[in-house]
Every structure is written in C-alpha cells, then in structure tokens.
Subunit: 191 residues, 4 copies
DNA sequence: TATGAATGAGCTTTCATTCAT
DNA sequence: AATGAATGAAAGCTCATTCAT
C-alpha cells in the first residue's frame, strides 16, 4: 500500500469518526479501530502528530468545498446570482458530503486548526467579498458586509447540525429558504 | 460556606474556564485551579459528576437568558416586535454576559448537554413559536418556520465568536443589522 | 500513609533505581515496580512530573551531603585541613551512601537538573572557595583555583564509578591517597 | 556511495548529535535528521543495531586518541615525561576534537559500551601502566597506582565538561596546571 | 546499496472518579 | 462541609527494529 493511499484512508476514517462522535471524543485509538488498522502506530507513522492529521482533514474538506463552489460560481455574473450559487452550493455540498462538512465544522469550532491568512480568506472571507461586490455594483442595499456575511455563513453551517436531529431533512428546500431570506435581506428596497 | 454558595462559585469558575479555553480543554483540574480550590475533590463532592456540573452551568445560563428575554418581550404585542425584541435581547445579553453565553454555546456545540424536551423548547423553540404566530396573524410571509428559526438562532450565536476575534465590536450595530435583515426577510412582500 | 512519607518512599526507590540501572533507563514503571506501588499513577499523584521527582531526588542527596560536610568541616581552621576534611568527607559519604551519590552523579551527568545559582554554588563552588582561601592565607602555592577545583571534584566523583567495578574497594585508602595527592599538589613548595 | 563512506558519515553524525544533546537524548531519528538521511532505515541497514553503532563511534574515538597519544609518547623515555605527554596529549586532543571526546565520555558514563579487556586496557589502563613503570624505575613515590590513574583520568575528562560552560577556556593552561599537579603529586619527596 | 511500510513496546501525563476519614 | 490519598483507563508520542522489495 502506498503512503498516499494510506494517508487518504486514515484521513477518511478520521472524518467519519469526528462526524460521528465529535472532535472532543476523537482519538487515534478510535480512528485506528474505525479504519481497522493494526495499531495507532500506523497513524503516527504517516502523520507527524495529531495536528498534522487534523490539518490534513481540514485541508481535504476545504479543497473539496473550494472545487465545488468554483464550479457552482463559474457561470454567475451578478452578485445576487453568486450569493444564491454560494448558498445552494454549500447546501448541496453539505447534503452530499455530510461527514466531511460536519468534521470540518467540528475542527473549526474546537480550534483544532491553526489559522493562516489563506485559510481564513478561503473559508470566511468568500461571502463577504461577494457582498461587497454587490454593494459596489449597486445590486445590494447598504448594510454591514461583515455582519451579513456572518449571518450567511452561520445559516449555512446550521445545516449539518440540523441534519443530525433530522436526517431526512429536505436539503434543497432548506437551501431555497435561505436563498429567499438573503435575497430579500440584501436587495435594494426600491426593487 | 454553604453548599449553595460553593456550587455557585464552582459554576462561575466553570463558565470562565469554558469561555476562556473551550469546552474540550476544560477539566476539573483547571476549574479547581481557576477557583483556587485545594483539590478537584471539592467539585466531585458538590456535583455528582461532570454531567451534573455541565448541566448546572447550562441551566444557569439558560435561566439568565430566559429572564432577560421575558423582560424584553413583555411589552411587545406584534410578532415582528417580538422578533426584534428577541434578537436585540439576545445580542444585549451576549454583550453584557460574554462568558456565560460563550460557555453555553460551547456546551451545546460539543454535545455536553443531554437534551430533553424542556431544554430544547426553551432554547431553540422560542423563535419558531414567534415566527409561527406572525404567520398565523398575517404579519409574516410564508416560509418554513423551522429553517427561519435556525437562521435567526445561528445569526445570534455568531456574535460570541465574532467577539473573540473582534472584542471591540459595536454589538448594538450588530443587533440592528440582524433586525433589519430578518424584518426584510420575514415581512409580507405586499407591505 | 501521609503524603510526606509516600514522597520519601518514592524518592528512595528512585535513588535505588537510578543507581542500579542508570538515569537513562529509569522510568516511572521501573520505580513503581521497585517500590511495589500499585501503579505509576501514584508517582504522578505525588509529583507534578518527572522533573519534580528528579529535582526532589537531587535535593535529597545535596542536602545530605551538605549536612555531612558541614559537620566534617566545622572543626577545621586551616585551608589544608578543610581540603582534607572535604575530600575525606565526600569519600566517607560515598562509601556509606553509594546509591544516593551514584544517583546524584547520574542526574548531573545527564542534565536532569535545572541549575540555579544556589545549586551550582553548593555543589561545585565549595572546593574552589576553600582553595582560594588557602592561597589568600599563604597556605597554598599559586595555581588556577578553577582547574584545581575541577581536579578535586572529578577525583572524588570517580569513586562511585570505581565502586561499581570494584565493590570491595577500600574507600578509606582511596580517600587517603587523594588527600596526599592534593596536599602535595597544593602546598607551598618551600614547605 | 560505498558502504564504508556511508558508515563513516553516520558515525560522524552520531558523534555530533551525542556531543550536542547528550547520549540519553540521542536516537536514530535525530541522527538521521542531522545527517539528512531519508529515514532511520539507512542506519539500521549499515549497523546491526544501536549497540554496533555506539561501539563504532567509541572505537572511532579510541583509535584517534590512541594514534595521537602514540605520537606524543614516542619520544619520551622517562615515566614523568610520559605522564606529562599523556596529560598534554589528551588535553590537546580534547581541544581539537571536542565533539569526539565529548561523545566518547557520554558513551562511557552512560554505560553504552560493553567493556571487554582490550577496551578497558586501552582506555583506563594506559595511565596506570605508566605510573607503575615510574614507581618501578624509582622516579615516582609510593602510591596506589590505580587510585592515581583514576585521578589523572578523571581530571583529564573534566575538560570537555568545562568547555561546555566555558567554551573559550585556555586549554593549554588547563593542561599545564594538571601536569604540575601530578608532577608534584607523584615525584619522590626527596627530589 | 537503498528504501517504503509497518510494528510492538514503552514512555509521561491527564482524565474523572472513589474510598475512607 | 471538607479533605487526603489513591486509582484504572486512556491519551499522544517516540523508541529501535523488521519485512519485503
């Protein structure tokens, strides 16, 4: 087995474990058990430490989301279109990659990631940029872009938690509701 | 020292510790250190276990928030007024009780609380009830009350995290932005 | 069992283990086994960490040696008398407290102790002070006190290692030989 | 790369690492890092085990010292001359090969070497032989040759440790002081 | 000659909890 | 109401070594 494949296997198992039992309960032992590894030593061998493993998990998720969003946003030309695409893209991704998204949120909420400027921008700053563009172009009304971005981000992040208590939730409907909410909340009142 | 006073002291220390270093890093040892107790034994003595302590902390916060909101909402007669009062009440409470709110969120997000119907209703269901009343009374447009309630709740919960990276944030402005957002997002379009 | 007694028991066991198998091979598990403790957890309970345990061991030895030397040197008035008393005192102590001295040397040689000024003075500086007094008072010839002190100290420290390969060594004779060596090496040539 | 060259490279790296961080902290991982090897596997490949590596390091140092001393002692005909040449030779070697000597001492003091008669003779017995020759030939007074040899050996070994706390030490002066000490301590009193 | 992958045993430290006053 | 002493389990990490190319 190649190191790359083994690392991928361990990352996948870690995602599952974090999503299932939470960041705080996740340990090498639990990951090894889930991945059916002979011992936790195999994890230590392929990752320099817990930090590196967690970082790898986060990067895996962030990259996937980034790719997905890039595709979703490619065709959009208006800010409101981009905002809609962002929300629906995130909701879609969450619906089809529940564990990955849940694990990413767990990591962020528990401070398991050492931020850098790139990470911060790719995760949090995306929406804010769209909002500012919309205001500059006259599509959106005046509001505090930071606050609105937070609201969008939190609303989207609410889905993984909702899915835990309601696994059969209609995600598409959830997305549509959010899109409507933020369209009404951001558009120029004269429209 | 009375048992009641000692319990209150320990709960207060636990709130501080959770707010400062997060739920995951919080331990009896660190709470004892913060409260300047001679040993963790004093915590075990006054609380049956970690669960009971965490529950006490959560209940402390929930009760405080409940009292605060009850006062804020008392004078309101319309659903939109109640929604505004709820958002501004929560933001105000967060601004003046940062640690308490942060600790409560940490506990919820890390699954430290064993839900029961009462807890769930008092925390999450409040907004949903208001929204349904508004729809029943014709004040609000049609939307999924559950989804909207989630969005409101998450938006409000965003403040404690924002305060960590931006301690000098203008909380009142944050509240006003959210009120505007949800007024635009919930009102009947004919208005 | 009182904490004090337990700490003393653990310190004694640690001294034995270090003396027997060396600093590098010494572990909590080995100490617990030697002291017949139920688990290593008992060591962690009474000492904040390995550093604290090692420091306690070193302090135990240093204090014992200090007391012994103080008694030996009390009656001496001349520098040559003090030097003789120092050498014989150290040799005597080593002969009757082999493990303690061996353990102390192991700790020093492996950098297990975080020096401070007091430690340094009490361990290394003692001889140098005596030598300088002897030179100032005209008893001793001119020489580099630092170098001579090192030679004395190393010669004395040689005994524990010699005792390992030759347990039946005549320590008193060893001491007498060293006294003669350093008397000849330090006295004024005109004598 | 030839096996011989690779072994030499690893031995050199091991010497550096032991001298820098001590025998106790030295591991294959750290040696590999220092030598910029891709993995510790390369060490295991060229040496049957840790023992063989350490033995190789010690032999490297012992051989170097032996060569150096042989040259220094070649011209000497008297025992006192040989003793002086030995001390100065060892001090010189230490001054110019600090790491090698430090590593050798670390290995000896931590029992990393499995003695055999040859090793013992070549390292410790050298001085004792000189001293006995001097006594047999009437140059030296009566003393216990074993004890005196120990004192000489330990005094010489003190230099590497002294150099750690005082890197700019005047080694030549250190050697002269020791030579004087042991000349005074060994010569016939009638002289 | 070299390497990638894997491994079992060991390490110190921290966890909440319990027994006995 | 409080405390001192003790505890089993689990954590992440490092050790030298080995199997199979």
């Amino acid at each position: 087995m190649t190191a790359q494949a083994r690392r991928a296997q361990i990352v996948a198992a870690t995602i599952d474990v974090i999503a299932e039992i939470g960041y705080g309960q996740t340990s090498f032992a639990r990951i090894a058990e889930h991945a059916k590894l002979s011992s936790t030593r195999l994890i230590s061998y392929h990752f320099a430490g817990k930090d590196e493993l967690i970082t790898a998990v986060a990067e895996d998720a962030i990259t996937s989301i980034g790719d997905h969003l890039a595709r979703q946003l490619a065709a959009e030309t208006t800010a409101s279109g981009m905002l809609r695409a962002y929300i629906e893209g995130m909701v879609q991704f969450t619906a089809t990659h529940r564990s990955r998204m849940k694990a990413l949120l767990e990591i962020f909420l528990n401070g398991g990631l050492h931020y850098d400027a790139t990470t911060d921008q790719s995760v949090v700053g995306h929406v804010e940029t769209i909002l500012r563009q919309g205001q500059a172009g006259g599509e959106f009304r005046e509001f505090d872009a930071r606050v609105m971005a937070t609201a969008v981000q939190r609303a989207v992040e609410g889905l993984p938690f909702l899915l835990e208590s309601t696994p059969d939730l209609d995600c598409a409907a959830y997305g549509r509701e959010l899109v409507t909410l933020f369209e009404l909340g951001t558009r120029r009142s004269s429209e």
